[in-house]
Structure formats: C-alpha cells, structure tokens
C-alpha cells in the first residue's frame, strides 16, 4: 500500500508515535517475526489481528519491552527505546489474564504504579476514585481481586494501567476469557474509554469481529508477516489476498482468470468487475462476500445453479448454492428453498480481484506480485 491510497490520507494528519523498524524475532530457531515494519499514530485504536502463532502477541511484547527483538529498532516518539527496560517506557499493558496483584486490595492494585512514582497520597486517592469511576466500579476500593468476576477484574486491570497516564495502552487479548455478552459490552466500554482518554490503544486479538467493531486501524498478521493494514472497511471490502479474505468474515474465494481490465472469468462465466491493471488472461483469485451474492431466476443470472442447503441464522438465511462446480456461500434475507434452481449475479464493485500466490512462501508473505 502506498501513501497515495485513500486509506492513508486520513492517517497523514496524525502524528507518528511508534515505529517498528525491521523487527525480527525467533524462539528456539523458529521465526516468529520476520522483518516487520509498522507505524502507529497518536490517538489511534490499532488492532493486531491474526490467528494464534502469527506473531501479534510477540509484537505487542516487543513494544512493551517484555521481549527483545533479535534485530530491528523500536522508535517511540522519535526516541529509540529498543533497549529500554519495561519500567522506563511510557506505556502500560493490560494483560491477558488480568495479572492483578492478589495480595493487594483493589485500591492498592490501582495505586501500585503511582506509589512507585512517589506521588502524594491525596493525588493517589483522587486517581483511584477517578479510575474506578471511569471503569464503573465505584466503591470497590477495599475488595480483593479474587472476589471479583472476570469482567470486573479486567476493568481493574485497565484502571491500574491508565492511572499512570500512559501515552499508549497495550491490550493483549483482554476480553479473551469473558463470555460473549460481557465481551460485547466491554468492546463498547473500551471504545468509550479510548475516546475519553484520548490516547493510543494497541489491541491484540484473534477475533475478527472484535477488531472490526473497535479499531480505527487493523493490522492483519499471519506467520510473522503483516498481510494487510488499513481501516476496518478497507480490510473487509478490499482484502488484498486470500488469507485476509478468508480470515475476515465469511467469503467465497474462487480461482478465476482476468480476461482484461474490468472483466473476469469466474467458473467459465464472464463477470464485469472494477479492477484494472492485472494484465490479460492472468490467473487470479476473486473474493465475493456471501451477502454480495444475489440469487435471481436461473435465466437472469450470470451463472446458474441449485440451492443445496439452507440454514436460518436469525437476521438472514445462510444458503449453499452449487454453481459452476463451486459451492457458493450466500447470505440473504430472502429465502430460496433447498433444491430450487437459481441464477447467480454479482455487482461489479462487489467482486474483489487478488493476485494468486505462486508458492507457499509467497502466500505467507502476502506479497503483491
């Protein structure tokens, strides 16, 4: 991606805060991060998204100072902090399993960082009250961490981190241990917190829905490489490769041939599209989101097929359609009964064309050929 692309214009107004330069890290000879470069701007909600083992947590731990990169530099606010100990960095972390101090009550937990800084007692007490109010747990000062629910402990972990007034808050899958309903509540809570505090959040998760809901900027990672970064809309609507398309939401990823600019042959049928610059008669992959597949009468469709399976999902029906030798996943509020013959139509701007990787390494790196 280049700065001329629309996703970046919005970023250019913001001040750069963290820059990772050529970061590599391996454990026991296994490469976790390979030449990673990443820029994070002030006051952004950035999410590092990827499956387990993709290097997202290692990246966060390198920013936090708990891991030292084998090579590369970490620049924070223009300063090289690669060799700085975690306690000297102007950022705070919310850990995966809360990591509260079980031998201290809630007030002492929150006060920990401030006491280390030798802040006056009045200041500390004010901060404790302010932080508990911010996370909606007023009056919990003298409870012990063990007597709190998972969601409450998580809020305390956040309160403990933000009273130190960090420029950046690092969050390592903070909602992973919570149940679905609580997780959704906490997502809104985190967005509200970020807006109230006006600081940068760097958030690590494997949950694509969480990432889409909360982030200003998503960095999709796999096998130690950044696959794509951009706004949630861009990541969802214009995935750059099959991995991103597959990881973010449901999708139909179909091998196809780019006939010429704005025309692609999918499963033998020619579809109009909006992509240009791939050349002629070039093998590509296309991504079509299930909600973008329109089911019409057989004679009206670009391709025709038969509905093989229908599942009612509440908001929509999820249907499998066998067409052109490929099983299409279709989401629609209109039901087409199983066994009916249908036609498939896709609007040109809903077809996302991607280069097809020629080797597995290329697939991992996610390069544009």
């Amino acid at each position: 991606m280049s700065p001329e692309e629309p996703g970046w214009r919005w970023d250019l107004n913001r001040k750069e805060l963290i820059r990772l330069e050529h970061i590599s890290k391996s454990f026991d000879g296994q490469m976790i991060l390979d030449d990673l470069n990443l820029v994070i701007h002030e006051n952004e909600f950035v999410t590092l998204l990827g499956p387990s083992g993709c290097g997202k947590t290692t990246t966060l731990r390198i920013i936090g100072g708990f891991e030292h990169p084998d090579s590369g530099r970490v620049i924070f606010d223009g300063e090289d902090i690669t060799n700085l100990a975690p306690n000297r960095r102007q950022l705070n972390t919310v850990f995966q399993k809360y990591a509260l101090f079980t031998h201290m009550d809630i007030a002492e937990n929150i006060a920990f960082g401030l006491k280390i800084q030798n802040k006056p007692e009045d200041y500390i007490n004010d901060k404790i009250r302010y932080a508990l109010k911010l996370v909606n747990l007023e009056g919990y000062e003298h409870r012990m961490p063990d007597s709190l629910s998972g969601g409450q402990q998580q809020r305390i972990a956040i309160a403990r981190a933000i009273v130190c007034e960090p420029k950046v808050l690092l969050l390592d899958e903070p909602l992973g241990a919570l149940d679905l309903k609580l997780r959704q509540e906490m997502q809104y809570e985190l967005i509200r917190l970020k807006n109230e505090l006006g600081i940068t959040f760097i958030y690590v998760t494997h949950d694509q829905e969480e990432a889409l809901t909360m982030s200003d900027h998503i960095v999709v990672m796999n096998q130690g490489y950044i696959q794509q970064e951009g706004s949630p809309e861009k990541i969802y609507n214009e995935p750059e490769n099959a991995f991103v398309a597959d990881f973010i939401g449901d999708s139909n990823i179909i091998p196809a041939t780019m006939v010429r600019d704005r025309l692609v042959r999918i499963l033998g049928a020619e579809f109009a599209c909006v992509d240009t610059g791939f050349g002629t008669e070039k093998p590509v992959d296309v991504v079509i989101r299930p909600e973008d597949v329109e089911l019409v009468k057989p004679e009206e469709g670009t391709l025709s097929g038969k509905v093989t399976e229908v599942i009612f999902k509440g908001v929509h029906y999820e249907m499998s359609v066998m067409a052109g030798g490929f099983e299409w996943l279709v989401h629609s509020t209109k039901l087409s009964e199983s066994g009916t013959d249908v036609g498939i139509r896709v609007d040109p701007f809903n077809i996302q064309v991607m280069n097809r990787p020629e080797s597995e390494d290329e697939e991992a790196i996610g390069v544009d050929v």
Binding site: G64, P86, N87, F95, F101, H103, I116
Partner: protein, 273 residues
C-alpha cells in the same frame, strides 16, 4: 448416601486404628509419664524441670541454633528456588533431582560424612594443610551443628519456596515492571509477598526438625554440646528417667505448637488480605 458413608467409615477404619495405636497412644503415654513421678503420682515437677539451668541452656542453645539454621537455609534456598521457578521448562527437572538426591541416602550416613569432612584431621583440614593454609577447628562446635542442620534440612526449604514461586504468573511480574517498578521494587512488593505461603511452610519444615534433633548434635557437636534433644534422649536412654524425658518433651512440644500457630495465623492473614 448412608451406605456410602458407611462404606467409607469401614474403609477408613485401618487408618483410624493406625492413628490410635501409633499416634494417640504414644502421645497419651508421653503425657502420662510427663505428668507423673516414679510412683505414678501426679506432678508438674518434670515440666518445671525445664527451669533448671542446664536444661534452660540446652533449650536456649537448641532454639538459637535452629533459628540460625532456618535463617541460613532461607537465604540459601530463596535464590535457588527463584532460579528453579524461572527456568520452568528446560533443566528444572535435573536441578530439582540434584537437590533431592542426598535425601535418598540415610540421614545418619550423611551426617557421618560431615564428621569425616570436619574432623581436625579430616578431609577439609588435610586439604587446607596441603595448601599451607591455616586449619579450621570446626568439629564439636555449634558451627558444625549448624552446618549439619543446614545440609540436612535445606531441601525442605527449597521445595515449598519453589512451589509457591513457580505458581506466580509471569505476567504478574511483568505487570509490576510495566507499572514502573524496577527489579528490586518488583521483588519486594510483588514476588516476596506472593511467596509468603512457601516461606511459612519452609520455615516450619526446617525449624521443627532442627529444634528437636539430637543425632546431628551428637555426631557433630561431640559430647560437650547438649541441645534439648540430647537431654531428652539421654533421660530415656542413659538415665532411664522416662518421666523427666517425657516432661521435657511436652515443653518442646509447646514450642512447636506455638510455631505452628504463628505460621497458621500468618497464612490465614495472607489469605484474607
């Protein structure tokens, strides 16, 4: 439900019998002998005998040496336990085995080995004289007894400390660093308080056997240094004054119970906090 309870009562009966025969009956006998004189009449004289100067001296010395040994064990064991807890994955099994290995050998044999090492013409002094260094005069001193106690009881300090240290979540330590604590602050404010349960049980497991030992002091302290354990042993085996021996045992028991109550309170306070 009822039959379950009945079955479990039947199953437990051998243990109940064991407890009765080997724990309660001997304990009852100690109290019987301790609270009577030779004619079988009730007396507190055997317990009051602790106030005799030679008995007080033996008790005081035993307390002093076991406190010193416990402290030395603690300061030796804590760094070892921390290293073991930190290297959770790799060489931990081997190192733990190395520390436990001596316990596979007979306790008296190990103490005997120290006798040979510390003797005036022993291994250490022979080595020192070969190097033209001044010889040490350790055998038959309280220092030799402390060495013997530390050597024998060190594993009992390491294991509970290791247990509680390895249970501390690495991210809790990271969180302290993250909140601005340097390594020293992290240790005193987070690691040390979280390891209190291990410290309490380690101290108990070293202090009690050290306080009651007579074998170590007999072998490494010669006949000159008497600990309370030696006094009690001699009352039973040399003087055949079972009443006095039992009476002094009861006094020692009181000290141990006090120690255990203190550690129980510490642990409970730790849980409540």
């Amino acid at each position: 439900m009822f039959s379950d309870r009945k079955t479990s009562r039947v199953m437990a009966s051998p243990y109940a019998a064991w407890a009765l025969i080997f724990i309660l009956v001997p304990l009852g006998m100690i109290f019987y002998y301790g609270l009577t004189d030779e004619t079988g009449r009730f007396t507190l004289a055997n317990i009051a005998a602790i106030s005799q100067p030679e008995h007080l001296k033996a008790l005081g010395l035993a307390l002093l040496l076991s406190v010193i040994s416990t402290a030395v064990c603690f300061f030796l064991a804590y760094p070892v336990a921390m290293i073991l807890a930190k290297n959770r994955v790799s060489s931990q099994g081997l190192i733990t085995t190395l520390f436990i290995l001596p316990m596979w050998m007979n306790f008296l044999l190990r103490t005997l080995a120290w006798m040979t090492l510390l003797e005036n013409k022993g291994v250490i002094n022979t080595a020192l004289s070969l190097l033209h260094l001044p010889e040490l005069n350790i055998i038959n001193t309280p220092a030799a007894i402390v060495i013997g106690m530390v050597y024998n009881f060190l594993p009992f300090m390491i294991l509970p400390l290791y247990n509680s240290l390895s249970r501390i979540d690495e991210n809790v330590i990271n969180a302290a660093r993250d909140l601005g604590a340097n390594e020293v602050q992290t240790f005193f404010r987070v690691i040390l308080p979280l390891s209190v349960p291990g410290i309490v049980s380690g101290i108990t497991m070293v202090f009690i056997p050290a306080l009651t030992t007579f074998a170590i002091s007999t072998m490494l302290g010669g006949s000159k240094i008497l600990l309370i354990g030696n006094v009690i042993e001699q009352e039973f085996t040399l003087s055949y004054n079972w009443n006095l021996g039992a009476g002094l045992s009861i006094v020692l028991m009181i000290f141990i119970i006090v120690n255990m109550v203190i550690s129980a309170i510490t642990e409970r306070r730790e849980e409540e906090d």
